[in-house]
Each structure stands twice: as C-alpha cells, then as structure tokens.
C-alpha cells in the first residue's frame, strides 16, 4: 500500500474541510434558510455544521489520496503541504473570527 498518498490526501481533506467550515459559517449566518435547514435536519445548526465538515473531510481525503501519485515524502512537497495546513488553519481563524467581528461591529 502506498501510504504517502494518505498523508497528502488527509492534508488536502483538511485544507478543503477547513475552508468549507469557514465558508459555511458565512453562508449560514447570512442566509437564514441555510441556518434553518441545518437546524431542522440535524436538530441543531452547529451539530449539522460539524457533521457536514467531517463528511467533506472524509470525501476529499479519499479523493486526495487517489489523486496523489507520490510514493515518498520529499522535502519540497512536504513544505508545500505544511504551508497548506498552516494556510487552512489561519484562514479558518481569520474568516470565521473576522466575519463575527465585522458582523458585531456593523
């Protein structure tokens, strides 16, 4: 089994899930219909958000693992994936925190 693809695949999944999480916050807080759909479907909008984020992570990890062809962790590639993980984390904090900060201030 080529395990490297699961390393990279999981980071691709993380990157997309983190961005999806952030964008879904903006969408559900902007469009009441999305918020209400999450609340009625999953009993609570926050639970629904979590379940969807986990599903997105699983789907894109699987897709990522099947796209990646690398068989070993090369330094240059690892640096790119570290940058992706850092970008995903900080974008998530900036988008979510920034949205609520602006929302509160306006």
């Amino acid at each position: 089994m080529n395990s490297t693809r699961w390393v990279y695949g999981s980071i691709i999944g993380y990157f997309i899930a983190a961005l999806f999480n952030s964008i879904l916050v903006v969408i559900k807080e902007t469009y009441e219909g999305v918020h209400d759909w999450l609340a009625t479907t999953f009993t609570h909008h926050w639970l629904g958000q979590g379940i969807l984020v986990i599903l997105v992570f699983l789907v894109f990890t699987f897709i990522g693992a099947n796209i990646v062809k690398d068989t070993e962790l090369k330094e240059s590639k690892v640096n790119v994936y570290i940058a992706l993980a850092i970008a995903a984390t900080f974008l998530s904090i900036i988008i979510i925190g920034g949205f609520f900060l602006i929302h509160f201030a306006s």
Binding site: S3, T4, W6, V7, S10, I11, G13, Y14, A17, A18, N21, S22, V25, T43, H44, W46, L47, Q49, G50, V53, I54, F57, T61, L73, K74, E75, V78, Y81, I82, A85, I86, A88, T89, S92, I93, I96, G97, F100, L101, H103, F104
Partner: protein, 155 residues
C-alpha cells in the same frame, strides 16, 4: 438549566489533548523516537479532541442558551457571545479535523526514520497547540462574561 460544571469535562479533554500534543512535540524533537509510542500518543490526541466535542454537545445545544440570554443582555458582555462564542464554536471543527489527521500521519509513515514526516507532524502538532490556546482564551472570555452577566442579574 444553565451551563454547569459539566462544561469542565469538555475543557478537561481539550487541555489533555494539548498537553499530549506538547509531549509528542517533545518526543519528536528529542532523539528518543519510537514509532509505537508516537502512534499511541497521536491516537490519544485525536480521541481526546473527539471526546471534547462529544462532551460539549449537550452543554452547547441544550444548556448554553440560558447563559447566552444573560450574556447578550448587557453591552459589557454581549461581545463575548457575538464574537467569542460564535468564533470558538465554529473554529473548533477545524481543530477537530486537524487532530484527526495526526494519527493518520503517524500510522502511515515511519516517523522515527523519516525526517520529512517528522517535520510535517511537528508543524501540525504546533498548529493544534496554538489553535487550542486560541480556543482556550475564547472560552475563558465567555466564562468570565457569563459570571459578570449573572452577577449583574441580566436576562
């Protein structure tokens, strides 16, 4: 019913996960590397963060509403919910996924002998600890705001 001591269970698991991540970073930086040990700690980190989520679900979805009403009653404390809690509850999911990929990496690589895998893992663990500190700070803000709001008698 408002939020009680049971909220501490969520914080406790989160704190243990951050300490475990710190221990893992320490082991990775030192030369005492053992794949089996790192894998167990990585799995423990992920389990602790998931437990932190499971234990906060009833607190946030059923109990927090009462405190939220109090916190939102005063201009001095409303930001703790509108910015602090709203941000914290959603960023948490990013941390949940980040914690989940930690064991995936340890179980699919030879951490003890692959310096690139080690570098990747240390970076992810550092992000997890930093994110945990941010969430902990937001949690402290909300907790203090709730105390202030209740002491002011809002609601």
């Amino acid at each position: 019913m408002s939020v009680g001591l049971e909220a501490g269970v969520h914080v406790f698991f989160a704190l243990l996960s951050m300490i475990s991540a710190g221990v893992a970073i320490g082991l990775l930086i030192s030369n005492k590397l053992d794949n089996s040990k790192i894998r167990k700690i990585a799995l423990l980190i992920a389990i602790l963060v998931w437990l932190s989520w499971f234990t906060v679900i009833p607190v946030y979805t059923q109990e927090y509403g009462v405190d939220k009403g109090k916190i939102k009653s005063y201009p001095e404390t409303v930001a703790a919910h509108a910015i602090g809690m709203e941000t914290k509850e959603h960023i948490f999911y990013t941390g949940l996924i980040l914690a989940t990929i930690i064991p995936i990496i340890t179980y699919t690589t030879d951490i003890a002998n692959d310096k690139n895998a080690r570098k990747l893992l240390i970076s992810l663990l550092a992000l997890l600890v930093l994110g945990g500190i941010v969430l902990d700070a937001l949690g402290a803000w909300i907790s203090i705001a709730a105390k202030i709001a209740w002491s002011m008698g809002g609601g």
